[in-house]
Symmetry: D2
Subunit: 495 residues, 4 copies
């Protein structure tokens, strides 16, 4: 990876400072590859035919060990790639270093992929790095072209896509608007970034937008932005919604959290989960995984829900379903995984047992009213260790808040394991191949992957688990009206 200051002053902006970091990263990549059979299978299937030859991918997604395996898979399939992280804290530096050096490179002769990401970026650095993945001048120079840009985006949260749309909009307008008092700090940085760009080139983003064949988007949030853009008629290129593949949304939420929630609780607190009363707010896929994990450790789990269907599912699965305020005084561990705001409010924090643990595995930071806690007169914050804080309350009791109320499966554990990410990322690669190789099939719009590819993702993960798949006879296939090789289900099938 590269620091901003060196990056702008060196010819090889992705030169690596620390080779031992890259070596440690390569060990981890090797282990991760073993847990990412989907991606490795795509390398085996497409490594020779290189369906992504010609694709120049601007990638914006957490720069972790798993993403490193994704990046090297894209390269193996023929793509050229530049990468930034989509979060200022989520980069694993050794993974970034390993990708930059590449499997066969050295510090002084890196053969990998330019990565612009490090753990703990400022917002200025973050948007600078995002801008970098659209600057392919080094590649142009290497190939002797006068200009080349990316022709594909792989996005997580939509920041890369935003930059292109926003940049082009300002180029069309001829100027970047001034920030006002209401402008957030982050958007000021975006405006500054685009203002600098406009000064250097009046049509850079317009040219890039024209070149782009499409974007594949990882998350709910990014997908939501894409549907909005498309609804307003402003979407500039086709998009594939990777988030709603079954092998993405039903897998990483449920099985990822089942793994990383107890992991984070253990690393943070070492508190015995067995025998404890645990409250899980929300019984969507995240809540289902959380409740299963905690019951599996011998906890008594109480669930809350706003949706009567999910509430009934929770009851049918044997959980007590109560409002948080009804049982607040019994709770040892409070987990929120709703995607909504203000789920754990100040009155809840004040009502918990002494030293109850508070953990967020939802989506946004505001599931827990940390702001209320911070401004509570008489409340005192004591750091037990990084990401674990005791808040002494005016009641005389304390609560233990993990990751300052942010996602504790990232902050106190290591996020989704490789095997889960292999499912998500295999969807990503297949989506990139779809958009790149079958452009006519995808006019501007937002698509989910066809079911046969969703099934393919699953299929590529079976061998690693020793799963034997049963094969339909032609007669059986005809009988239920599906092809022998699938797809097998109607679109609204719920799994």
């Amino acid at each position: 990876m590269v620091r901003m200051d060196t990056a702008v002053t060196t010819a090889l902006p992705y030169k690596v400072a620390d080779l031992s970091l890259a070596e440690a990263g390569r060990h981890q990549l090797r282990l991760a590859e073993n847990e990412m059979p989907g991606l490795m299978a795509l390398r085996a299937e497409f490594g020779e035919s290189k369906p992504l030859a010609g694709a120049r991918i601007a990638g914006s997604l957490h720069m972790t060990v798993q993403t490193a395996v994704l990046i090297e898979t894209l390269v193996t399939l023929g793509a050229q790639v530049r990468w930034a992280s989509c979060n200022i804290f989520s980069t694993q530096d050794e993974a970034a270093a390993a990708v930059v050096v590449g499997p066969d490179g050295t510090r002084d002769d890196p053969k990998g992929v330019p990565v612009f990401a490090w753990k703990g970026e400022s917002l200025e650095e973050y948007w600078w790095a995002t801008d970098r993945i659209f600057d392919w001048s080094a590649e142009a120079a290497a190939s002797g072209a006068d200009w080349i840009g990316p022709n594909m985006i792989l996005d997580d949260g939509g920041d890369a896509t935003l930059l292109v749309h926003q940049g082009r909009e300002f180029e069309v307008a001829g100027s970047v608007p001034e920030a006002t008092d209401a402008t957030s700090h982050e958007f000021r940085v975006v405006l500054d970034t685009l203002r600098r760009s406009l000064e250097l080139s009046p049509d850079r983003w317009t040219r890039i937008a024209a070149e782009l064949k499409g974007v594949t988007e990882e998350t709910t949030t990014g997908v939501h932005r894409l549907y909005e853009l498309h609804a307003k008629g402003e979407l500039l290129f086709p998009a594939i919604n990777v988030n709603d593949s079954v092998t993405k949304s039903k897998f990483d939420n449920k099985y990822g959290i089942r793994h990383s929630l107890p992991d984070g609780l253990n690393r943070a607190t070492d508190v015995l989960i067995g025998g404890k009363v645990v409250f899980v707010a929300g019984y969507g896929d995240v809540g289902k995984g959380a409740a299963e994990a905690l019951r599996g450790q011998g906890a008594r789990v109480i669930v809350s829900e706003i949706d009567p269907i999910n509430a009934l599912q929770a009851a049918m699965d044997g959980y007590q379903v109560s409002r948080l305020e009804s049982v607040i005084g019994e709770i040892d561990i409070l987990v929120t995984g709703t995607g909504n705001k203000d789920v754990v409010r100040l009155e809840h924090l004040l009502g918990l047992k002494h030293l109850a643990v508070v953990a967020n595995v939802g989506h946004f930071d505001n599931e827990i009213d940390m702001a209320g806690l911070e401004s509570l007169p008489g409340a005192e914050r004591i750091e037990i260790k990084p990401q674990v804080h005791e808040w002494r309350l005016p009641t005389g009791r304390s609560v233990l808040v993990l990751s300052e109320g942010r996602l504790m499966n990232l902050g106190n554990a290591t996020g989704h394991p490789s095997f889960v990410m292999s499912n998500s990322f295999t969807n990503q690669v297949l989506a990139q191949i779809e958009l790149w190789t079958r452009p006519d099939a995808y006019p501007v719009g937002v698509y989910v992957l066809p079911k046969h590819l969703d099934e393919k993702v699953a299929r590529l993960h079976l061998d690693a688990l020793g799963v034997e798949l049963t094969v339909l006879t032609p007669e059986q296939a005809a009988y239920i009206g599906v092809p022998v090789e699938g797809p097998y289900k109607v679109d609204h099938y719920r799994y």
Copy 2:
């Protein structure tokens, strides 16, 4: 209920022979009502306003205790009802009797609903009974009208709907075709039934079809027929697909089988499930419920799947996933729940352990190759007790076949419990209300219930389980972009 022969010769065809049967039935209805809070809540909500006033419902659905509660709910909501069963074996005679007598009736003065169903009908009797629910001459006579017909159908499997469509088709054609060698026994009976009808009236079905405001259909099979009819442009009235409500398909399959599979195994065999190796073919909703139930009894469960996504789910849930032939010699109990044919083939039956139990909880009888078994030279069938047969095989081993290969949760147990059926039937009633009261909203076509009604079904079942539902604040609702009162999820949400 009524026997065919008496029915045609009496003025009150639904006169009950056996009052004590009706009394036993009413006890069971009372217990079932306590387990069917959704239907009882609809009685409380709509008992006064009677939204089904004017509706004349021809119902064709298994005449069980639970259906009795459904029928009396429809009546409480203002409907007139006539009923037949949709299966020759599934009627519980005491339930039929109780419905005929009614809550306040006596044998000689029944005040209930005409039911044409008894356990163990012949096919001739079955189609006669189905024809009866379309004959409202008694009601016409009672109200002084010269003719009235039903204006709604409540269907399970589509036989009632079929009769109308087929009858009208033949009336349009002017004659009923002759059976050929290829005509099944059952369709011959249908043809005979309609031929008799045509002799009596040239436009009976045409008139009925014109009168009908719609049908609500319970099952996958019936729904499939409806979509086919509509695709061919032949559907004569709107239809609501009750089967694909979340509170139907995700509930009765999974939670119903979880209950009734071990129940049927126990009643049939008394074999200890704990410690046994159980094979579950198919990991759809049925398979998921089956596997959970058997693991909960201490069995080791092996699963098979053709769909890689479901296979991966099974693995993630901790089950071994193998082809049947790979593990055939280890299996103590073999359960099939796929909806496909030829899942358990002769070679499998021959490879099982001595006295292994074979159980079908799928959909059709042909999941197990009973025909192959019956024609196997040297195979011998010994009745241990009704619905439990030992088949001695030429290998010297035996297998225990439940319910002659048919659905053992019906044959060896009592089908879905009342609470599960309350979910399904509350969907049915809401669907009837929708079609009857909002005809403009449903032009001819096939619809699923709107999500807010699906959620309502769930909501009506929470109190009985002591579930407290959490209520969104207006701010939270706005934040996630849903109304406070729901619906809460996008249509493709998978639950």
Copy 3:
């Protein structure tokens, strides 16, 4: 089996009236044999050497299909056997008939074992039958001896053992005391039985007692009596406490109830267990099995305990632990399995939800205050079906009481499955062999089976479940200080 009246007037008291009953019984025996691998393995191991040759066993134990397999195993091992049931209701008549006829016999030429038991005996008949198993005059006549008596007892609850001790005591005293007002009805019958005996012979029981080499006892209750007798110095022959073998007490309670509790609930009520709140009183082995079974069906389980260690176990296993009165109004199904009295009291019954189910899987009938319920003014009892009664309470609510408050796993289901009983009965047979073949090893006293035999019982049940046992190397065995072939654990090991 035989009716009392015919028995006393026929030369072949065990002539069978109904051959088809015996045939049905033999089918069931064949199925049960497949589920009783321990007994079948003993037949294979000892069928030739016949270690029980010369043993004449007086057996008193529930005359079920499983017991039939036990009896025929004893015979295969060389013993002569006479049998009575130890409970007036527990006989399965087809099993008794099958045993009497024997595998190769016919109605007119029975070749089996004399059984004096039928379902629904009076107390007079019961004690007459128990007396019969000590009357070996037919065998004496057949062998030309002038007198022979039994030399072994196989007992369940201790009634056979009681008769011998009591009979000898009265013979020593020279008379049987008169009943007083305080004498229970049952003990009056015992006194009458022994008085008749004393009239016929002054030393019959003394002679039998002298002949007896020992007794093997099945139950807690019987074992308790034996320890008391021995403590008072009155025990007349050695006894083996089969009840406290690990493969008995840790298996039949836990795994037996796990199977038969949901079975009984289903057969009795068909109420969906999933989603319901179930209360389990007692978290011993019975409670552990009950809680596991109900959670496995999706119920929410609340447990009560008096022993803090078991209470802590319940909490560690993830259950809510509460007093019954604290949660009485939330309970859908109330299960008691404590072995204590007055666990479910009238105030509890009055506080339950409408139509809550009340089930006893403990030991004695008085776990539930049925007497209080029966004498409650305004309470009304309605039979829904045999063994299922609705009690309408003055509160306006009802409760559903199973098996009239008695053991519902027997009354509403079929008791322990064969595989569980195979473990218990293999202990019985090994205990009989020990006492019969190694009399010097067991002076008068009460013993548990040596651990190597307990382990043997388990070992004989592994193959049927496909279990592969790992074998210690001599070095490993030496390292942990045990023989390669076991026993492996110290006596106080808790499993």
Copy 4:
């Protein structure tokens, strides 16, 4: 804590170098106290009466945060204490520092307990530290006595007890024997330590042994040594076997491993456990906890056993039971928890899947043949991170070995959680009180705690989990023949 070199040269050998370490430790102690309700309850109950007044305890047990809470509890109950760790790696330095400083002390004025322990001692340092806990000269000086020694031992593994017995033996003999070639390195250090002691004083250990009122021992290993000593007639003072309290052996093994095994796997590898095939060698309490934890994470668990009873339990709990060699090629994660040696042999390591994880949660290091692996030609060891090593094998595959084959729940996780240790340590404190206050009740010998104290330990942990205990009525207690307040079970009850 203190370094050896400073210790011998300072008047206050336990002066703390790093106050911030002590502060961090005190934070952790505060959190741990909340998870150790048993110890805190003893402080509340006995803090005023101080039953341990006069007791001078030499403690040898892992110097962790939990032990710190134990030590301060002993002090609160009136004891004087000196402490060493019983393992060279297990000390948590911040815990040691916190104990030395004490709740109210400062670096320059410590008011706590002398602790001689730090993480990473040499064997020389270890035995020096163990010797220090018997040197009470500072306390003698403080009290003006000419000599005082400890009068109680609290031991884990028996090293402190060994030193006294061995020291006295050599004093009786008049000399310490020379080491031979066969003497292990560790025993050489012991001999050197005692030789130095003998040079300074001819009767130090004799005097100490005479003074000692008893020892309470934590572990299987230590208990085994005590029984051996007593069997040889060499035990010098009474001993309480804390290990075999129910609330110790059935709790820390099962619930401790259930917690710490997945924790260690996650911290070491981040490999998704869900869907993986996990092999658990041994189904004792450790194996039961391990299997439950892994199934709870969605793994498929295969178990091995040598004891047929435990094997049958595993089968009844739904696990596949196989020999390791039968399934070696399917295993993703291999866990051994047997307490035996050579369970995972070289041929097994060579047969595993590529990058399979190998984890020891048994007792001794030799469960896995690490020596064989280290001497295997062509095998290469790569450190992925501390305590996680990839071993590249000549087969071309690798295995991931955790904690170099030692206990990974200690090496890769943090051992038993506080709540579990609270159970164990409450037993320890009660055992110390028994021996100290009721010496007449315990002549020289080895005892387990009376059952009423075992139950008391459990009782003290119920409130923290919200458990309501049910109380027997006097009638109920009389009926089952136990006191209302317990103990409730016969000694051989297996829980």
